[in-house]
Amino acid sequence: MNIPLRPQDIEVFTEAITHYFNASTGEKASVRSAYLLERGGPVIWNDFNGLIEISGDYHGSVCFSAPRALLSHVLLKMGESVFTDERHGDIVGEIANTLSGRARRHFGEGLGISPPRLLEYPSSGIEAMAHSLPYAIPLRWHGYEANLVVHLEAC
């Protein structure tokens, strides 16, 4: 039987977002309350969507979805001088990977994490991976809106 996430499980991802922007850019992100993403609900996907597939004691996915402008700003903060689509895809995947990896502090090594891949049509990509509804965690950084979508169940 698959067990849906508890609120304290989701809190781990909220903390990971806060920590990521502090450490990587030196600037805080404002993270709002997580909510269940109903099928047919508002479209939250952005220009770039980096997906991590989860395996092991859990299954599902973690997807970081952000507009190009947010990612360009993060790249700039990291000292990048190249702003191609490839570089934006690289950083959106790296953020998804870093947020998922930090969650292993809470879930342990049973949270298997794949290398990131880019999704062009995210809603069809994540629905197949877990039966429960995904959580969306909205954030704002430097005036840009982005979302972390956590679609995860314990096996």
């Binding site: 990587s24 990977n97 930090r102 994490i113 290398p115």
Partner: protein, 128 residues
Amino acid sequence: MRLNQRPLSMMIVDDSTVIRNRIARLVSNPQLPLIRIAGLAANGEVALQMARETRPDLITMDLTMPNMDGEACIEEIARFLPDAQILVVSALSDKATALRAILKGAHGFLHKPFTDEELLESLVELIA
């Protein structure tokens, strides 16, 4: 680690171009001894081949990568380059993963996301 007149050579292994570039930029910091970048690799398979060819003194190693992951790569490199100092730079934040990487031959572990200062401190400790 042997410190002599020649610059230390360093290989950077990470599947993110942005992270490889960031680490490469930071190693030119004057807090560190002169370091020459021996190569950049996007996965463990490429890193293994590059390590055989360039025999780097220092390696930064990601863990979650396609083809061959960082743990398997560390284990292999530690066999034929036992003096290479390996710093794991990974998002995987559980203690068991860090411990396993150290047992396989890594000498340090830096969690992503890292600040510039944290990377420099880790490299200074690695070289000392």
